[in-house]
Amino acid sequence: AQSVAQPEDQVNVAEGNPLTVKCTYSVSGNPYLFWYVQYPNRGLQFLLKYITGDNLVKGSYGFEAEFNKSQTSFHLKKPSALVSDSALYFCAVRATLPSGAGSYQLTFGKGTKLSVIP
């Protein structure tokens, strides 16, 4: 079974400071890893993904994430936070191969609420 842990329910950071949102995962085989952002009353917006290759992945709005296989982590980072980055962030994992039922389902963490303080 695959799982994702986001150990922080909430992260507060001052505008202009770097931010990190943590994610660890468990999956059989090589993982596909994703970050999504959710604004109030909106669906999930795709930010970035790791499939293979370079461990540092760059995505939308200046976000990046680093894949660390030994620590089974995929932390989301941004060098300088904006107030508009305040939202709910979800990490998700998918197995490389489909499950026995043939599904490519994503398994999500519980989410981390990011608040950027002006």
Partner: protein, 118 residues
């Protein structure tokens, strides 16, 4: 271009009523997923279609939940005899194809349908 659309955006049902939630995936997307997001939680997988074939329904919580995608495009999630515990946001996502090819793994989400069962 048009993203994933869902309707209705909000639905209030009395306990015991049947409801139908609609999802229009991105044109040409082969794979379609339904997820359920309870308040304060991450989305949880319900079911998966590849074209019109429902390949995985392991996440459906009971036999009151039924999904279909008869022509391989629009999908409907039906909940019969709704219960209060069915109150949640129901998210639909689509992806280009369910293979492991690069660039085809990303699931794009709709805005969701918020269901409240009284």
């Amino acid at each position: 271009g048009a993203g994933v659309s869902q309707s209705p955006r909000y639905k209030v049902a009395k306990r015991g009523q049947d409801v139908a939630l609609r999802c229009d995936p991105i044109s040409g997307h082969v794979s379609l997923f339904w997820y359920q997001q309870a308040l304060g939680q991450g989305p949880e997988f319900l079911t998966y279609f590849q074209n019109e074939a429902q390949l995985d329904k392991s996440g459906l919580p009971s036999d009151r939940f039924f999904a279909e995608r008869p022509e391989g495009s629009v999908s409907t999630l039906k909940i019969q005899r709704t219960q209060q515990e069915d109150s949640a946001v129901y998210l639909c996502a689509s992806s280009l194809v369910g293979s492991s090819g690069r660039g085809q793994e990303t699931q794009y989400f709709g805005p969701g349908t918020r269901l409240l069962v009284l």
